[in-house]
Each structure stands twice: as structure tokens, then as C-alpha cells.
């Protein structure tokens, strides 16, 4: 399978990938190295992992990172209560025997990272918003991602049965370490250009009117050039398109009041909603309709 085939497969799954992204995904899957995606929110970083899982017909294991994420919530934890009950139930056994029993895989609670590498089949492991996790976790992750193994003091080292396809995403709220960056294939996902975004819209909402679709994409692209706190991503664009289609609007310039009301789909902060007044909306709409 060449990278063009992969790009086509993604397109069949309604994901329009840029050349850079498709190549990075292709190399990452073929060479079994993690893929690091950066870019603004809403450009489809998380979505690519879902598509990869769909293409390979495997399970998607997702680890959402947050501040304070630690090994016990991301890798493994002992099922303490179950261990305790077992000890209570088998009082007649010798201590060594009980110990060997309660520190076995049966009493291990697998968290996403361990789960991903112990699956029989290759899975897609999505580590979302890695920049939110602490630096200690990042260091821990490095170990798991380079050797694909986890060491548990009581059990020994658990080696990967299969190497998962790892996708890391980051919004750049913190700088990632060089070590992690170098271990990954890297792509910066930009907002799509007009043509690509139009293709995405048609792929996701196939029944939408072609003329309206062009206007929607043109409008959103113009809106991104305005001074906004939070620029609308592709997901917002799709929401908006669905809203417009649902309301039965066929031309952006038809009803300015209704158009302004639908802007809630695109503008996600109070300041932005304030900044994009009806005049601004009409000006942008006027441009794309004409």
C-alpha cells in the first residue's frame, strides 16, 4: 500500500488529509513509530485516529490527558479491594501462595496504555492533548513508546504483544520535550484551504446544496482572517453547515437576522460574539455571495 492509497482510503472514510498529513500517517504506520500532530483546535487531529482505527478495523483506545494524570490512571493499578477479598477468603493458604495469587494479571486493572500494548491485534492508541499532562508523565510515556513495554515491580516486565499505532495530539499549551518530538513523526495540521475544506464539507454533509457549500466555506475562511480569540475550526464549520441546512437556508444573504443567530455555531467566546456584529457578518456574507 502506498501513501496515496492511504490518502484515498482516508478520503473514502470522509477524511480529507493534506499530502503532508497523509505521508506522515503512512510512514508512522509503516515504521511503527508514534505520530505527533500539532495544530489549532478543530482542524481534525483527533479525527485522524478514529479514521485510522476504522481503516485498520481495530479498536481505538483513547487516553485523554489532563494536569495531574499519573501512572495509576494511565498505565495500571492493582485492584486492591479484590486482592483484599481474596486474602480474606483464603486464610488457610500459605502467605507465599496468596501473594503469588493476588499479584497476578487477574488482579491488575489495565489502564489505556497497558491495554493498548497487551491487545492481541494492533490497536490505535490516541493520546489526546499530551501538552496538558505534566512533564513527569511525558517522561514515563517516552519509556512506553520507545520500548513498547511496561515494567510492573510485582509482576515483571510486560512486553507488547502487538505494537499499537500511536497518535499524539497537542494544542501547544506547553512546549513538549525534544526527546518526545524526536521520537515521533511530526506534522503541523493547518486549517484546510478552500478546496480541501469544500471537499470535507461535501464528504461529511453530502446532501448539501453546492452553491451554499461554497458560500459556507468562503464565509468561514474569511471569518478566520478576522481578529478572533478562538477561530472556528472545521468541526465548527460542519456544525454551522448542518445548522444552515437544517434551517432551510439556501443563500447566506437571504435572512441576515437568522444568519446572525446561527453564528453561535462558529463563535465560542463572548468577546468574539461581541466583535462579530451583524454588520461584520453581512459584510462577509456579501463577499462570498457576490
Amino acid at each position: 500500500m502506498s501513501w496515496k492509497d492511504l490518502q484515498q482510503q482516508l478520503a473514502d472514510g470522509n477524511y480529507i488529509a493534506s499530502d503532508e498529513l497523509a505521508m506522515a500517517v503512512y510512514l508512522a504506520t509503516r515504521q511503527q513509530r508514534p505520530l505527533l500532530l500539532e495544530g489549532a483546535a478543530g482542524v481534525g487531529k483527533t479525527e485522524i485516529a478514529k479514521q485510522l482505527a476504522a481503516i485498520n478495523q481495530t479498536q481505538l483506545i483513547r487516553l485523554q490527558c489532563y494536569e495531574g494524570l499519573d501512572a495509576s490512571t494511565s498505565i495500571y493499578e492493582w485492584n486492591y479491594q479484590k486482592q483484599l477479598l481474596h486474602v480474606q477468603a483464603s486464610r488457610t493458604e500459605t502467605a507465599e501462595k496468596i501473594e503469588s495469587q493476588i499479584f497476578s494479571e487477574e488482579y491488575l486493572l489495565k489502564r489505556p496504555l497497558l491495554e493498548a500494548i497487551t491487545e492481541e491485534n494492533t490497536t490505535v492508541l490516541l493520546i489526546d492533548e499530551i501538552d496538558r499532562a505534566d512533564e513527569e508523565f511525558e517522561a514515563y510515556l517516552l519509556e512506553v513508546l520507545s520500548d513498547y513495554q511496561v515494567s510492573i515491580p510485582e509482576l515483571g516486565t510486560i512486553k507488547a504483544r502487538s505494537k499499537p499505532i500511536v497518535v499524539l495530539t497537542s494544542n501547544g499549551s506547553r512546549d513538549l520535550s525534544d526527546a518526545l518530538r524526536r521520537r515521533c513523526f511530526y506534522t503541523f495540521v493547518e486549517y484546510p484551504d478552500f478546496k480541501t475544506e469544500l471537499a470535507i464539507l461535501h464528504a461529511r454533509i453530502p446532501h448539501i446544496d453546492a452553491e451554499l457549500a461554497g458560500q459556507i466555506v468562503g464565509f468561514v475562511q474569511a471569518l478566520r482572517k478576522e481578529e478572533l480569540e478562538k477561530k472556528p475550526g472545521v468541526a465548527e464549520m460542519l456544525d454551522w453547515a448542518a445548522a444552515l441546512a437544517g434551517l432551510g437556508i439556501s443563500k447566506l444573504s437571504d435572512d441576515p437576522v437568522e444568519l446572525q443567530a446561527t453564528m453561535v455555531c462558529l463563535l465560542k467566546t463572548q468577546i468574539d460574539q461581541y466583535a462579530v456584529t451583524r454588520e461584520v457578518t453581512e459584510r462577509l456574507a456579501g463577499k462570498v455571495v457576490a
Binding site: 503532508e20 510512514l27 486492591y80 503541523f188
Partner: protein, 395 residues
């Protein structure tokens, strides 16, 4: 598009790729042997004849952040395609055709074909010369990037410098803030067991401690209050320091900041604006709006009277960014610092002049302030700011 003519001694793809990686390294990429290996492996998976595929593949391997990602295409063309210059030749079309034909013979030395191509070859050589000069330019970028961190703020203020100042400040603020209490409090993910509570609760389960209770040391974050001098003598540093302040304050509600000059202005709220550039511009305007002189002493007095009660306590670090040149009697500074110190806070004075060679704190204001400071450091380059980290962590 013309391909680069490699010397005959370089043979095989691997050596050229190694050369390319070195070229990237020159330009500030963190690329090494591992990248060369990964690149070569990636090249096996794609069609080598298609330069676009090669570019995409090497980009995925070697780029590590947005900057290197954006820069990559240019570096790629400059290395492999003589900077991607098309021949805009005035030479006759016949020889340029010939040129086209031999473009995939990169191993051939120039001198061997020089006679046969005549005038076109001349232009060709110019191109090669152009490449080496562009290469030099590439190195310039690299050295600039490495240097920027050592440049005195007076000489250069670029958006990326502001960005870096902000990132740095954020790190410093984190170092200072990260304080733990000595007491323990119940916490789900605590570091040690709370035996009393665990045992008490085990009575529910007939003496089996089914649920474990834990304790942790809660955070006792340090508050930061920054006083920035924006008088005439400090204006050259003002923008960078404002960016620095912005980084310190970043989304933290417990910090506060003030500008002073001849008057004292609270800017904490303005700094919390999410849009960095907008906040910067607004503040720069605010800073310029004042007169020229400095009144450090009376501003400290004002700060003590009006704000210190609210925002300074035993867990506060007060950071003063000033060069210490004052138009008032130095005793006023000493007196007010002493008063501030009575609140049991830490006082850090960052002076951009201190970074200069042979600096002595001769400004009378500065000399008077010294006994009351917990830390006195230079702040004229990003590097000097970065060096603060261990000192501030100790405070």
C-alpha cells in the same frame, strides 16, 4: 527545476541524505544519526523518483515543531535544487534542452561537461555560486536563532523574543509558585495513608480496610506581585518586560502587576487579556503616556499604602524591575522597602543594568535598596532571566 550537482566523491543516496541532515542541523534542527537512519528507512517505503514524495517523507521525519515544519520546504529546495531556481536563461534554447537531459546525472563533475554546454554552463556555475551563498544565508538564520537569547533587549525586539520572554516568565512563575505545605490533608490521590480514618472506616466492613484513605500535602502557591519601572531610562526594555510580566501573570488570578513612573498604575487586569499582542500594545501605550522622570520611592510608598495590604502577605514574592535611577532621596526607597519587608514577603529586584560589564550599584537608590532585597539579579537578556530559575526556586 535544477537539481544540485554533487561532487563526484559523494556517492550513493545515504551519503547525500547524511549531508542533507547536516544541512538541517546547521539551520537549527535537532537532527542526528537517528534522523538519518529514519529518513533512509522512510525513503525505502516511497517512490524515490518523485521529489515531492521525498520532501513529504523527510519532512515528517525531521520536523519537530511548527517553526521547523514551516521552514522545511525552503531548506529542502535550497539543498537539493540549487535553491529551486529555474533557469531564466538568455542562453539559446538548444543548450538548455541539453541541460534538461543531464539533470539526473548529479554525480558528474562540472568540468567534464563544461566544454559541451558552453554558455549555458556559465549560467549554471552562477547558479551553483548562488547556492553556496544561499547556504550561507541559511547559516545566518541559525546563528541568529542561537544568538537571540543573548542579545541585550535594547538591540532587538522581535515578536519571537517577546514570545520567548513570555514562555520563560511562565516557567519562572511556575518554579516560584510550586510550594507545598508541611501539613497533611485528606486527598484521594494522596502520597500516604491516613491510618486513623482507614481503620475507623473499616468497622463498616467488619474490620477489613476495604477503602483506603489518603493524605497529601496541599499546595501553598506563592503570589507574585510585579512592579515595573517604565521611566525614560527603562523604555528600551519596557516591551520585553511587559511580555515577561504577561507570562508571569498568565491566567493566574492570584498575581498582580503595576507600572510605575512618576505615578503608579495597576495593570493586572489589562495583562489578563488573552490576546497577547493586543495586551502588549495597550500596555505599551499606557507606559508611554507618562512623563519622563522616575519616583521609585514615592511609588513604593503609594504601593505600601494602597495595595500592599490586599496583595502582599507572607507568601508573596514582590518583583521589582527597575534600573534604580531615581529623582528622589534614596532614603525614601530604603524606608518603604523596609515597610514592605515587614509584611514578611520576599523582594526580588531585577536590574537590566546589572548585566553590563563592570556594573556597580552606584545609583544611590539602588545602593539604598540593597539591604532589603532577598535577591538582586541582572535582567538584560533572556539568558540572564533564565538563570534566575534556581535562585527563585530557593526563595
Amino acid at each position: 527545476m535544477k537539481t544540485t550537482q554533487f561532487p563526484a566523491t559523494v556517492n550513493g543516496v545515504s551519503e547525500r541524505v547524511a549531508g542533507f541532515i547536516a544541512h538541517l542541523r546547521y539551520n537549527g534542527y535537532t537532527a542526528g544519526v537517528a534522523e538519518t537512519e529514519a529518513t533512509l528507512q522512510s525513503l525505502r517505503l516511497i517512490d524515490l523518483q518523485d521529489h515531492n514524495q521525498v520532501r513529504l517523507a523527510v519532512k515528517a521525519v525531521c520536523a519537530t515543531d511548527k517553526q521547523s515544519f514551516d521552514q522545511f520546504d525552503e531548506l529542502f529546495t535550497s539543498y537539493w535544487f540549487n535553491r529551486g531556481r529555474e533557469k531564466t536563461s538568455t542562453a539559446n534554447s538548444g543548450s538548455s534542452n541539453e541541460n534538461q537531459q543531464r539533470r539526473h546525472r548529479p554525480g558528474v563533475e562540472d568540468s567534464m561537461v563544461a566544454d559541451s554546454t558552453g554558455t549555458a554552463e556559465q549560467a549554471d556555475r552562477n547558479d551553483v555560486a548562488g547556492d553556496s551563498s544561499s547556504d550561507g544565508e541559511g547559516r545566518l538564520i541559525a546563528s541568529k536563532r542561537a544568538n537571540i537569547i543573548k542579545t541585550d533587549f535594547r538591540e532587538l525586539v522581535t515578536p519571537e523574543l517577546l514570545q520567548q520572554a513570555q514562555v520563560l516568565a511562565y516557567r519562572l512563575a511556575k518554579v516560584m509558585r510550586d510550594r507545598r505545605s508541611r501539613r497533611y490533608r485528606q486527598d484521594q490521590r494522596g502520597s500516604r495513608l491516613n491510618f486513623r480514618k482507614t481503620l475507623r472506616n473499616s468497622i463498616h466492613h467488619g474490620g477489613v480496610p476495604l477503602r483506603l484513605y489518603r493524605d497529601t500535602k496541599p499546595d501553598r502557591p506563592v503570589k507574585l506581585v510585579t512592579l515595573l519601572d517604565v521611566s525614560g531610562s527603562m523604555t528600551v526594555y519596557a516591551r520585553v518586560f511587559l511580555a515577561f510580566l504577561k507570562g508571569l501573570i498568565n491566567h493566574d488570578t492570584r498575581t498582580d502587576a503595576f507600572l510605575f513612573h512618576t505615578a503608579l498604575v495597576r495593570i493586572g487586569d489589562a495583562l489578563k487579556d488573552h490576546d497577547t499582542m493586543r495586551a502588549m500594545n495597550r500596555l505599551s501605550l499606557m507606559a508611554q503616556g507618562f512623563g519622563g522622570g522616575t519616583r521609585i520611592g514615592s511609588n513604593l510608598k503609594l504601593f505600601n499604602e494602597q495595595y500592599a495590604g490586599n496583595c502582599v502577605d507572607g507568601r508573596t514574592v514582590v518583583i521589582i524591575l527597575s534600573d534604580g535611577y531615581d529623582t528622589e532621596p534614596p532614603e525614601l526607597i530604603a524606608e518603604n522597602l523596609q515597610r514592605l519587608k515587614r509584611r514578611n514577603c520576599k523582594i526580588v529586584w531585577l536590574n537590566p543594568l546589572k548585566g553590563w560589564r563592570d556594573y556597580q550599584p552606584v545609583a544611590r537608590g539602588m545602593a539604598a535598596a540593597l539591604p532589603w532585597l532577598d535577591h538582586f539579579a541582572a535582567a538584560n537578556t533572556l539568558e540572564s532571566l533564565a538563570e534566575l530559575e534556581p535562585a527563585l526556586a530557593r526563595l
